[in-house]
Structure formats: C-alpha cells, structure tokens
C-alpha cells in the first residue's frame, strides 16, 4: 500500500525520540488534568484552616497552600484551564489566520496588499494592551466565562499565522501543479481547498503546535497580573511567588505549578520541532 506524504511524515515523527517524549509527557499531563480530579474526587477550593502551608507529605503529595487547599487538586484543575485556553485560543487564531492568509495569498495583487497592510497595522499595536483591554471589557459582564480569553488571545495570535500562510500560499499559487490544475479547468475554490491548502497543512500544524505554548504563557501572564478568569497555572504561580520571602519560604506552593507549566511548554516545543523536522525534512522553512 502506498503511503501519502503525510503518512511518511508521521513515520519520521515516530523516529524522533524527543518528540515522542514530549508527546508522552503531554498526554500524561493532559490525562491527569482532565480525569484525575474527577476520578479522585479532588476539590481545589476546599479550605482546611488547620492544615495551612503543609509541606509535601504522604497525605498531601504536593503540600497545601496558605488556606489549606490541596495543591494536587489545584495544580491539576488549574492545568485544565491552561491547556484549554492554549488549545481553544490556538484554534481561533488558526481559523482566522488561515482563512485570511490563504485568501490574501491566493488572490495576490491589490487584495493581498490591502489585507496585509491591515495585518501590519495590527502588528504595530501593543498587543498586551489590546488583550488587557478586551479582558477588562468583558470581565464585568462575563466573570468566570472563558470565551473572552480565547477570543482575546486568538485575535492577537492570528496575525503571525496569517502572514505565514499567506507567504506559503503565494508561493504555491505559482507552482506548476497548481497552474496545471487551473489549466485543466479547476475552479478557484477547489484550487485553494484541494490543491493549495493541503500543501500548507504541514506548516500550519507546526506553527499551531508552537503557538499553543506561547498562548499558555500569555494566559499565565494575564493570570499572574490578576486578569485571569479562572484557576490556572499562571494564577498558582502568582500565589506561589506571593509567599516567597526571606524569612520563611513555602517553596512547594511555587514549585509544582511552575514545574507543570515548564514541562508542558518544553514538551510542546519538542513536539513542534519534531513535527517541523518530520514534515519538512529538507529544512525549507
């Protein structure tokens, strides 16, 4: 049975140890965050005033925080938010960015010019202000709702995706096989969807994978500033930093969320690098 270029790429990916390690760690963390709190009936908000600032022990594997809340529960539940925000905001930016970039690159000329100037303009805006502004706007009306976070982060991140996709599509548009398909009478929509986009898919996937960690960091940063909407790793790190002082340090409160955050980010980067090598073995991009 003949293998498609995509299947061949997946085969190459499976030979990349770091990427596999990254993938496994991610799967483990995702599984833990999604299922363990339910299976073990963990409550991240249960306060136990008698058990404040307990160091890690057999009863509390990760210790407890200043209000006596179990850190295992808090880290796992916080991970849900971080991962969900990472995935959802990336999905938003991929959707918007790919559609926008593909249209600009495919039609080229004046349309491309106009569309890309808008992107340049938006690049020029201080995006952190934008995000903070959007979050503040929504935080009054929809406290606890995560949709504004997805939108705010996604709408900032799509610019890069649009640029990358536009460049790729522009180059592919003039490739002979696309020209050949056009000369055989294939319509624009079909040309774009069937002949151009599948060839950009690899690049999109690589950048999406690398975008997830940057979105997670952004969200953590927002939470750290107190602009988060739900319990997340960023918020936990912020809690942890607050209790670090020269006299008495509850190091575990900071250690666990930052370790989880760090491992997740590194794993995603390994996976993204592996994907890039697998999908583009000649190192064209």
């Amino acid at each position: 049975m003949s293998k498609s270029p995509f299947q061949l790429a997946m085969q190459r990916l499976l030979h990349n140890r770091m990427a596999i390690l990254g993938g496994l760690l991610l799967a483990l963390i995702a599984f833990g965050c999604v299922f363990l709190p339910v299976l073990l009936k963990l409550d991240p908000n249960l306060t136990q005033p008698a058990l404040r600032n307990q160091p890690p022990s057999a009863r509390f594997l990760f210790g407890t925080d200043g209000l006596g809340r179990d850190l295992v529960a808090r880290v796992l539940v916080g991970g849900r938010t971080s991962l969900l925000v990472g995935l959802a905001a990336t999905a938003v930016s991929v959707l918007v960015g790919v559609a926008y970039g593909a249209l600009a690159g495919f039609y080229g000329g004046k349309i491309d010019e106009a569309m890309m100037r808008l992107v340049d303009f938006m690049y020029g805006l201080p995006y952190m202000f934008l995000v903070i502004l959007i979050m503040l706007m929504f935080s009054e009306t929809a406290r606890g709702d995560m949709l504004p976070v997805f939108l705010a982060l996604g709408l900032v991140q799509w610019l890069t995706m649009a640029r990358i996709v536009r460049g790729q599509v522009l180059a592919l548009r003039r490739q002979e096989f696309v020209l050949a398909a056009e000369l055989l009478g294939v319509s624009d929509a079909r040309l774009l969807i069937r002949h151009v986009l599948p060839n950009v898919f690899g690049v999109i996937m690589v950048y999406a994978t690398l975008m997830v960690p940057s979105v997670i960091i952004l969200e953590s940063f927002l939470s750290f500033l107190g602009l988060g909407v739900a319990l997340s790793w960023g918020q936990l790190v912020s809690d942890g930093i607050a209790v670090i002082n020269p006299i008495r340090s509850y190091w575990w409160i900071l250690l666990w969320p930052s370790s989880f955050l760090g491992i997740t980010l590194i794993s995603l980067n390994f996976l993204g690098d592996g994907l890039r090598d697998a999908l583009d073995p000649k190192g064209k991009t």
């Binding site: 498609s4 002979e176 096989f177 398909a181 009478g185 319509s187 069937r194």
Partner: protein, 330 residues
C-alpha cells in the same frame, strides 16, 4: 480539410510594471491546423511561453493587457469570461509543462488527480471514470492499476511526465500545448516522450503547439516552425526548409549554436553574441535583432522590417536579400 483549429491574429501582451510597460508579445499571428505539430522556437524571454499562456487565458488582468484575437474553432478566447475559459481548459485545449516533478500535486494520488478532470468536464465518476483512466494510462505506456494508487513521489520523472500527458489527454483535447516538455528529462526519456507524443498525435489527430528552444527536438516532431525573437515572429517555415535554409539571420545563428551529429566533431559552435533587447511598448527604430546580427547593414537601422513572404508559406522579417542568405547552401 484546411480549416485552422487555432487562429492567432495580432496578439500582443503587455505587462505594466511600475516604471514602464513591457510588451512580451508583439503582434504575433499564426495558425495551427488540425493534426499539425507547430514548433514555437526562440531564446528565453522571446515570448513563446507568454504566447501559449495567452491561449489559455492565464494572464492576470489588469497586470497583463492582451489584445488581438485568438480563435479556437469558432470561439474567441481573448476577453472570454472565466467560466468560458474554464470550459475550454483541459477539455479542448490542454497543456503540459517543463518540469514533471512539480506539475503534480504531491498530496494527491494519481487517481485523484485524473478523476478531478473527468468529473469536471465529462461528469464521469466511479467505474466509468476508472475505466477511462486505465485506458489512457495504457496509452501513455503506464499499464497496471497499482500506478493509479501511487503518489507522485513514488514515480520517476519520465513516468510523471507520462502521467501529466495522460491528464492532459483525458478529455480528448483538440490542441495540446507542450511547454518544453522534454527539457528536464534525460536524453533517453526525452526520446521516449517525443515518440509517445508523435504516436498520440497520429492516433488522435490532435494538434500540438510545441514550445522549445531545442532545434534538435523541433526536427524530431514538428511539421512547421515559428521562430520568435523579442516578442515577434521573425521566421516561419516548414521544418525541413527552415533547418536546411534558414532565411533569417537569427534562425541561422540559432542553428549554428546548436550541436549536431551530422557535422564532424572539432567544428566549433557559434554562440550568439550579446543579449536580447529590453522589451518595451514603444515602436522600434530598427530591426530588433540588428545589434547582434552578423549580417546587419545600413538599411537595418531604418525602422523594423515587416514580416513578408519568402516564397510559398514561408515568412521572414528581414531585409537581407534571399540570394545572400541561401548562398553557399544547396
């Protein structure tokens, strides 16, 4: 039957760039008759590919301005709507390209690429489409069903070019435009592809517009040759006559710069000195080839010579007397 299949009249293609406009094709006229193989020959940048792309309407308006007339049978193609062009493309006129390695979509199986054309133009699907695909593949010399399931990267260059030809022939076009289809292939594969095109043309009574810079390939396959220089037709003749007695100094120079097996080794090749002129939309003050022409003379500076008959169907754009061009030849 002497009715033309393709009738190109006064075709001009002008590209407007920011600084100036470039006329890549300048009042070109020629015909292709049914079943005929016409060669379009010239250096890089002489306008041969632009001419062929105009036939299929592949220039983006408004960057390229196409004027004149291109008639395919009864149908005018200059100024035709996109929908009309789509109907002609791949159906009545097909094209094959220079580089078979990049002419196929790497993410689609051979079968999927072929099926797309059949579905588009003949509304053929399922087993009927499959039967047609197998038939055409065996015609281009690729038997066997397993090739249908192959991806392009699993096929060799020669095989991919055969697939491209199969794809172009799927709907039984009247005209095949071959844009240097053998340039990227090695000599043995080149000979096979030429043989294949020759056979297909006889079998299907299909016309071919063969674009090349290789006069050796021209002598193999073309009935008639149109020589282009700087976007103009400079000579037009039957292949044999053109190769034996070129009547334009440019054709002559092209022939002298081509290695031949019937000339003893040790003889030297004569490359053409200088570069082709910069193309502009202005009228020329002199013959476009004059600056590089070994036979140039005073009269060549007085405006561009007209394309005139040189006996029978032969046309040339030159003022050097015929006797001087044929002197020393049999």
């Amino acid at each position: 039957m002497n009715e033309e299949l393709l009738r190109v009249r006064d075709l001009s293609v002008t590209f407007a760039t920011r600084e100036r406009s470039v006329r890549a094709v300048d009042h070109v006229s020629f015909d292709v008759r049914p079943g005929e193989v016409v060669g379009l020959v010239g250096e890089s940048g002489c306008g041969k590919s632009v001419t062929s792309l105009s036939i299929l309407g592949l220039h983006e308006q408004p960057a390229a301005r196409v004027t004149g007339s291109i008639r395919l049978g009864e149908r005018e193609l200059v100024g035709a709507s996109r929908a009309e062009l789509r109907e002609v493309r791949g159906n009545r006129v097909s094209m094959i390209f220079q580089d078979p390695l990049t002419s196929l979509n790497p993410y689609l199986r051979v079968e999927e690429q072929l099926a797309e054309v059949l579905e588009l133009h003949k509304n053929l699907r399922g087993p009927a489409a499959r039967a047609r695909m197998l038939e055409i593949l065996s015609q281009v010399g690729i038997p066997g069903e397993e090739r249908l399931r192959a991806y392009p990267h699993q096929l060799s260059g020669g095989m991919r070019q055969r697939i491209c030809i199969a794809m172009a022939l799927l709907c039984g076009p009247e005209l095949l435009i071959a844009d240097e289809p053998t340039t990227m292939l090695d000599v043995t594969i080149q000979a096979q592809i030429l043989e294949l095109l020759r056979a297909l043309r006889l079998e299907r009574k299909m016309s071919i517009l063969f674009i090349t810079h290789d006069l050796g390939v021209v002598s193999e396959i073309c009935d008639r040759v149109i020589v282009m220089y700087a976007g103009r037709v400079v000579e037009q003749a039957r292949t044999r006559e053109l190769l034996q007695t070129p009547l334009h100094p440019y054709t002559e120079a092209l022939l002298q710069s081509t290695p031949r097996v019937d000339v003893p080794r040790g003889g030297s090749l004569h490359p053409i000195g200088g570069l082709p002129p910069r193309l502009s939309a202005d009228r020329l003050e002199e013959c476009a080839f004059a600056p590089r022409c070994p036979r140039a003379r005073e009269g060549c500076r007085n405006g561009e010579p007209a394309l005139s008959s040189a006996g029978g169907e032969r046309l040339r754009r030159c003022i050097v007397p015929l006797a001087e061009m044929t002197a020393g030849r049999s």
